[in-house]
């Protein structure tokens, strides 16, 4: 990260090669259109370069730092636009990236993933489902959701932790049905 902070192009390439795909997936989750997701990725990498000197490997691993910056930027971006993806963009069919061809990477279509995630969420208790939708997928903070649902902050935290753990218990490939 020191090399990135110093503007070393090779280091920026390495960072992109390692995290570009992950950042794009998260950006797509927040902005399920090709152009917006790609714009967001560029902004996030600029932000990573700007904040690289603050990375402390004793506090967190690099992937944690990158994802933290990514999600914070995306949440800020949503708030600036005052638009939140309805249920994490699952309402609209994702557009294939790369200019309209088929999706790269996994064989599963994004629409299938979206349907699978929706089904999986539906299996969760109502509170866990609502909290996940509003925090993980729509970018609200726990405190905001606590106020929205008129529930104690501790309850919201627990519901989110348990809900995420339950979702992760089942592999993504199962969700396609």
């Amino acid at each position: 990260m020191h090399r990135i902070a110093a503007g070393d192009e090779a280091a920026v390439r390495e960072l992109y090669d390692r995290f570009g795909s992950l950042v794009f997936k998260v950006a797509w989750q927040f902005h399920p259109t090709q152009q917006e997701a790609e714009d967001a990725v560029q902004e996030i990498f600029i932000r990573l370069w700007q904040t690289a000197d603050r990375f402390d490997p004793r506090r967190a691993k690099l992937v944690t730092w990158v994802m933290l910056i990514t999600r914070r930027h995306l949440i800020d971006r949503l708030r600036r636009g005052s638009v939140r993806p309805a249920e994490g963009g699952m309402e609209e069919e994702p557009v294939a990236p790369g200019g309209g061809g088929s999706l790269h990477g996994p064989p599963m279509e994004a629409g299938d993933w979206s349907d699978g995630l929706r089904r999986r969420l539906a299996e969760l208790p109502e509170l866990q489902r609502t909290v996940i939708e509003r925090t993980y997928l729509q970018g609200f903070t726990l405190r905001e959701v606590s106020i929205q649902l008129d529930a104690p902050l501790g309850t919201i935290k627990s519901a989110l932790s348990r809900g995420l753990a339950r979702l992760r218990d089942r592999p993504a490939t199962d969700w396609a049905g």
Binding site: K25, Q50, K61
Partner: protein, 272 residues
């Protein structure tokens, strides 16, 4: 405002994924970070592992991949920003354009007006600075005069405090009579004056050069007998002592023998 207690181990473990996913608000994130730094090394290690696993987990993410062109565009954007931020911003771009906002190029009229407005603003600014400088210099000059006067006044007050008001008044009065007292022993470098002011009805002794802590006795006598005998302790190298004589006694000083001795009887000063 009291500092909240750090999170317990259980709370840290529960909130670790939420912190990694930026779901805590600023307050919660700060509390988590503070608690993390206070945790045991083993717990910190566990939290780092949990957070890395959560952050790198793609099971909840859509199975999409970026197009190959995005890589080069992203790297180019970062490098361009690095170059832009490293270069000093010219004065003309300070303002809305400085944030990288794309602006339509100005028309010729806009450029002309813009240039003239900048010039006019610059002249106005320089003029205002010159006027401000002039008044500041005047102000500094007056402050200097006032400061000098204040210092002089303070020095006068301090001198008066040391030697007494009578001695200062008589020393400043050109009509007062001064009787010089000269050193009477080798190694004595002091000098004294008996100041007699008929207009002020005051008489005072002023001694210069006697070390602080020395006690002195001044005596004066004439053919009729002793006129005065006073003792004073020198508090500094300048000492004043009001003699508080009646008018007739002060008049007798004109022909009196005046001596200043140490308490042990050593003669220091006497009338010349």
């Amino acid at each position: 405002m009291t500092t909240p207690p750090p999170l317990t181990s259980e709370q840290l473990l529960e909130e670790a994924p939420l912190d990694a996913l930026a779901m805590l608000d600023d307050y919660g994130a700060a509390l988590f970070t503070r608690s993390f730094h206070q945790a045991t090394p083993a717990l910190r290690h566990e939290i780092r592992e949990i957070q890395a696993a959560v952050a790198g987990d793609t099971t909840l993410l859509p199975p999409v991949e970026p197009g190959p062109a995005l890589r080069e565009r992203t790297i180019a954007a970062v490098m361009q920003r690095a170059v832009t931020d490293a270069a000093p911003a010219p004065l003309a771009t300070i303002g809305p354009a400085a944030g990288g906002v794309r602006m339509r190029p100005p028309t010729r009229v806009q450029r002309l007006l813009g240039g003239q407005m900048w010039r006019a603003a610059s002249f106005l600014l320089i003029g205002a600075l010159l006027v401000s400088l002039f008044f500041n210099l005047r102000l500094l000059e007056r402050i200097g005069v006032i400061s000098d006067a204040a210092l002089n006044h303070r020095a006068d007050l301090r001198f008066e405090e040391i030697v007494g008001r009578d001695a200062v008044t008589l020393a400043n009065d050109p009509h007062s009579r001064r009787i010089l007292l000269q050193p009477q022993a080798p190694g004595v470098h002091a000098v004294g004056y008996v100041l007699i002011g008929e207009r002020h009805d005051a008489t005072s002794l002023l001694v210069l050069g006697v070390p602080p802590g020395t006690s002195l006795t001044i005596t004066a006598r004439d053919s009729e007998g002793e006129i005065l005998s006073r003792t004073v302790e020198c508090r500094s190298f300048v000492t004043g002592l009001p003699l508080q004589l009646r008018t007739d006694e002060a008049a007798r000083l004109a022909s009196a023998v005046i001596e200043v001795r140490r308490l042990d009887g050593t003669l220091l000063l006497a009338r010349a």
